[in-house]
């Protein structure tokens, strides 16, 4: 299945803008964005995206709590999630992957290559962490 619809969740408006340009303009994806966890849970149920791009540290409901809520609902449990985090502890990223996350993207990421990175991950060619700072171009 081709990756088309992505739901992006981040409380930072500036980052939402950058991701929007990166995925809509550069990546040509169908993108929907949410500023917090509760609205994301509702939106996923309604929009049924192919992939959820989820910020980890958000006020109120954290990215991990959103993911737990999605997994708890059979209708959304199998929707793949890629986390976006500035929390760079290796063990934290590994734990997310071990728990079933498709990948972990570290902030800051390269918006010019973000769409390609997601396509590669989607295609199963890359499951490791992407956009390490040294790769920023």
């Amino acid at each position: 299945m081709e990756l088309k619809k992505i739901l992006h969740v981040d409380d930072d408006e500036d980052i939402r803008t950058i991701v929007q340009i990166a995925l809509e303009v550069v990546g040509q994806f169908e993108l929907r964005q949410c500023p917090d966890g509760p609205s994301a849970v509702t939106a996923v149920g309604q929009a049924r995206p192919d992939l959820v791009l989820l910020d980890v540290m958000m006020p109120g409901m954290s990215g991990r709590e959103v993911w737990e809520a999605l997994k708890a609902d059979p209708a959304t449990a199998d929707i793949p999630v890629i986390f976006v985090t500035a929390k760079a502890e290796d063990d934290f990223s590994e734990q997310l992957r071990a728990d079933g996350a498709m990948a972990v993207v570290t902030k800051p990421f390269d918006p010019m290559t973000l769409a390609d990175d997601l396509r590669r991950i989607w295609a199963g060619r890359r499951t490791a962490e992407v956009a390490a700072p040294s790769e920023l171009g």
Binding site: D14, K87, K107, M112, L136
Partner: protein, 572 residues
């Protein structure tokens, strides 16, 4: 003797004569009184004349007797006096001998110049008699602490007072000697101060023993564990109460214990490697943080020489769990700060990247160059944030190290591949030289890759145009050495010590400044320290630099290849 016998003879003779004359006179008197009535006048006169003569003779004899007696008595007194004098002289000699045998004795004139010393003085101070005679006794005084004492003694003795007290003086060798001193001034018949006699007792051993006892009592009460053990045998000489309690040792069994008995899995080879800088004299103290059965501990070790000349290690083992908690809290706040810095950097760098990449419309060349500057500095800021986070995590022991078998040659080749792009960008060639085909080491591959990347990128940065950086792995006496060598400007010895410190601000000898956070080598050192690999640098100004780390033999093993064969060289 003859005179004394004569006196005795005269005395005896006078006594006999006097007795005889009195007997005669007395008997004649009796006879006279009996016959008085029948005697005539002439006879009476003759009798009284004779009797008077006899009385006269008797008186002379009595005078002799008294004189002889007096002479004898006087001689007796003289004999007694002479005997007393002899005894006193012997007593003084005896006392002088006793003092000379026991004490350090010196005589100084009124100006403080040494005029006489005994053998004990020579032995105690290490000077020969000839070396000190005529010298001022200031020679023995510690110029910093005891100079005022010298003047105090001089003033007291000149005022006629005896001075007594403890002094710390200096031997010829420069060592301290502690003495109890009594300084007695002497005066001539006119009352002028002519000299001092100083009697000293060496109390150095007692003082040191007291200091030692004080030190041990203090060590006994410490919460930290203290071990003192011999460098050659690693046998315990002393362990304080905390140490004995944890190890369940009694005082009596300490001499049978070795430091290896203080912890399960004590690795003696690793320990010898750890303390080698102390033995080599390169370091005064070495420290290591380890996980102990009772929690995280820091062990600091020094090399000391005991009074008997044997070298000992002194290790202090400190519980650092409380410090870990503080550091953990600190790392937590640093992580938060890092997150708060990374989030806006994501927006800044992301926006610049979209702008530069043309995602929001094309920009002209001049605008692009300005965006490049912003991007470059944004990345630099990001590097600083990442490095600070890394180093704080390492210091707080919060960075995970996954120690496992790592194939060294493969890792080095991978590092070359990863850094090839950066080197090419700078026009620098990369070259390898490995003395083995395969070598398996104990380490964290990711962290070691971080070390190699840091060292290689530094070497590339500092290489001259079209230079070559060599990455090598070679055998050493103690294991393996990995080196990164460049042909850059080199580092002056004064700067080499600062290299591995955080934010070390060095002035490049070629005057060119390079980008960098000033934290790379500090991270390298911290990561290698956790591996127990020793990092170092060899460099000469104008001849380039070699940064290396040594992997101890117990943390590496070679697989295949010939250790003695010439190295495999490759130019990338």
């Amino acid at each position: 003797m003859f005179k004394r016998n004569l006196d005795h003879f005269l005395l005896a003779f006078a006594a006999l004569a006097a007795t005889f004359s009195f007997v005669i006179i007395f008997s004649r008197q009796i006879v006279f009184l009996r016959d008085f009535r029948n005697i005539d006048r002439d006879s009476a006169s003759a009798f009284f004349t004779a009797q008077t003569s006899l009385h006269f003779v008797s008186l002379i004899l009595i005078a002799f007797l008294i004189q002889a007696f007096l002479r004898l008595r006087r001689r007796g007194f003289e004999r007694q006096k002479s005997a007393l004098n002899d005894r006193m002289v012997r007593e003084i000699d005896f006392r002088e001998t006793a003092i000379n045998t026991h004490a350090i004795v010196s005589v100084t004139d009124r100006d403080g110049r040494i005029r006489e010393v005994n053998e004990n003085f020579e032995a105690a101070f290490g000077y020969t008699r000839d070396e000190v005679l005529g010298e001022s006794s200031e020679l023995l005084y510690d110029r910093r602490g005891e100079q005022a004492r010298f003047e105090e003694i001089r003033d007291a003795t000149q005022a006629g007072l005896v001075w007594t007290g403890e002094q710390r003086l200096r031997r010829k060798s420069g060592e301290y000697i502690y003495v109890n001193s009594t300084v007695v001034p002497q005066f001539d018949d006119t009352g002028a101060h002519v000299r001092n006699i100083t009697i000293r007792t060496d109390v150095t051993k007692a003082r040191l023993a007291e200091a030692d006892r004080f030190l041990r009592e203090m060590l006994e009460e410490l919460q930290d564990e203290v071990y003192i053990y011999y460098v050659d045998t690693l046998q315990i000489s002393y362990a304080n109460r905390s140490a004995r309690n944890r190890c369940e040792w009694s005082r009596e069994e300490l001499p049978q214990k070795r430091i290896a008995d203080s912890a399960p899995n004590f690795d003696e080879n690793a320990f010898r490697f750890h303390v080698q800088p102390l033995v080599d004299g390169c370091r005064e103290i070495v420290s290591i943080e380890v996980m102990h059965p009772k929690g995280p501990v820091e062990i600091s070790t020094r090399l000391q020489e005991r009074a008997d000349g044997r070298a000992v290690f002194v290790s202090v083992l400190r519980d650092t769990s409380w410090r870990k908690e503080i550091e953990s809290a600190k790392v937590s706040s640093i992580s938060t700060v890092s997150h708060e810095l990374r989030a806006p950097l994501t927006s800044i760098l992301g926006s610049l990247r979209l702008l530069r990449g043309g995602a929001v419309g094309q920009i002209d060349e001049q605008a692009a160059s300005v965006v490049d500057i912003a991007q470059r500095n944004g990345k630099r800021l990001l590097s600083v944030v990442n490095d600070i986070l890394d180093i704080e995590k390492i210091h707080a022991n919060q960075m995970d190290f996954k120690m496992e078998d790592v194939e060294l040659v493969g890792l080095l080749n991978e590092a070359i591949e990863m850094n090839r792009g950066y080197a090419t960008e700078h026009g620098i060639g990369l070259k390898t030289r490995f003395d083995m085909d395969r070598a398996v080491i104990q380490g964290d591959a990711n962290r070691l890759m971080q070390v190699l990347t840091n060292l290689l990128s530094n070497a590339v940065k500092f290489s001259p145009d079209a230079g070559v950086v060599e990455l090598s792995a070679s055998h050493t006496e103690r294991g393996l050495r990995v080196s990164v060598r460049d042909t850059g400007p080199g580092i002056p010895p004064s700067d080499q010590k600062k290299l591995f410190k955080m934010f070390a601000q060095l002035n490049p000898v070629d005057g060119r400044r390079r980008d960098g956070t000033g934290l790379g080598l500090a991270i390298v050192k911290s990561i290698l320290k956790r591996h127990q690999f020793r990092v170092g640098v060899n460099s000469k100004v104008g001849e380039g630099s070699e940064f290396y780390f040594d992997i101890p033999r117990d943390k590496c093993r070679e697989e295949g290849g010939d250790a003695d064969a010439p190295g495999h060289e490759r130019v990338a």
